[in-house]
Symmetry: C2
Subunit: 253 residues, 2 copies
């Protein structure tokens, strides 16, 4: 994941957060995905908060630079679009978005020069209706209806993760070649020849009328496996050693 | 989010997990997204684990039903495809997938009758190379290179979230109408007429040569806003009351 420019980020606002542990964990969740703009509104235990700093550990810098506000309007005054995270419907007319859709919208707003805030409520009760009334839209994480409660840090983590995922240039799948290359068809064929030769000696292709099909099935195993040159060398060595051992045993008899 | 059938799920395997708090939190993270198949390999503090049960809280059922194994091979013996979560490259040839891609593959494998395991390592050191050598592929969460450490519960949460997200039928955006409907154009026009009438009385459209453009700008505000019938009623009431108040004041003068 490449480092994102500071300005093209949403600001995450913790509204009346309660426990320092959760604030610290929220900072970690943000910084795990390169988000660093935190604001805190009326934290229950004051500010700075030692427990938060302790739990934030390597993400402590976010707390050092977090904006501290006495109320929510002050914390979002400079923002042009506000998302409020909540679990339950509030009986107000408002768009309800998945984190994925919300962060895609956030990105579009940021690209166009807007300033985005995402609100997270106090651990016990969540955002109240007065808070949500100040938001343009609500984010609701699609959770198990039988167990819907996400804590503050988890909610922050998921939103931060989604924000990054949408712009992340990490390929979905990369093959770590660990210093080797894939074997080519000549090498695969030679491996197939080697095993076939040893198995022939060992009397494996029996009875004769099944021999051709057995050989073909074996060959096809090597075709299906994404063998590397290192794999091929290893397997050659294994077949040779087994044959050597068999010849030694036969010599002993 | 609809309830998923039990069988079409990956099994999450905690390999040599250390602290009960983390095991409990992992259970919560799984059950938040409807995943309930947990296995535990050689937990450091034995099993069952009181701290795990306490932290799992509403997700305790997962611990009750978790399979307990003495080693990793036993825990994955019945699986046909194994993902190992890890932060760092291990110098072996293996596909490295984002959680998104891995869970998409997991789903495809499950749909085709395969059995999928996702491995999570001990909190301090993660999975070792012997563990990873038993996996078909590695999952690496695309984190901030300056702060890459995710804890066990966070990693479990993200994988569980991704597994559900890909199949979730929750619409990305839903508008909570809260018992009202959108106002139609006749209602919007009537609102525009009402405000224009009151502003005309108040002498707002001045000077005369700018009046038409000002009126048009105002109308266009109402066009851009997704007003509901409830909104329109509220605004009508607001304009009426302001006008009534102005007339009262003028009467006083």
């Amino acid at each position: 994941m490449t480092r994102a420019p500071h300005t093209a980020q949403p600001v995450f606002v913790l509204v009346r957060p309660q426990m320092g542990e959760n604030i610290g964990a929220a900072a970690r969740g943000m910084w795990n995905f390169g988000l660093e703009r935190m604001r805190v509104v009326s934290p229950r235990d004051g500010w700075p908060n030692e427990r938060a700093v302790a739990l934030a550990s390597g993400a402590g810098r976010l707390l050092d630079h977090a904006g501290l506000y006495g109320d929510l309007p002050a914390a979002i005054a400079d923002c042009t679009y506000v998302f409020a995270t909540t679990a339950r419907s509030r009986g107000i007319t408002v768009p309800i978005l998945t984190p994925e859709r919300a962060m895609a919208q956030a990105r579009a707003i940021l690209v166009n020069g807007g300033r985005v805030a995402v609100l997270f409520g106090p651990e016990r009760s969540g955002l109240d209706n007065a808070d949500i009334a100040r938001a343009n839209a609500v984010i609701s994480v699609p959770v198990n209806p039988d167990f819907p409660s996400l804590n503050l840090a988890q909610c922050v983590l998921l939103c931060a993760y989604e924000f990054r995922r949408l712009a992340d240039t990490t390929p979905p799948e990369v093959l770590d070649m660990a210093g080797t290359d894939f074997a080519n068809l000549a090498e695969i064929t030679a491996l197939g020849d080697h095993l076939e030769e040893k198995l022939e000696q060992a009397g494996f292709f029996f009875p004769a009328d099944k021999a051709q099909r057995m050989k073909r099935n074996l060959r096809q195993i090597w075709s299906r496996l994404p063998l590397t040159q290192a794999d091929v060398r290893t397997l050659h060595g294994a077949f040779r050693q087994i044959a050597r051992w068999a010849e030694t045993k036969r010599a002993d008899e």
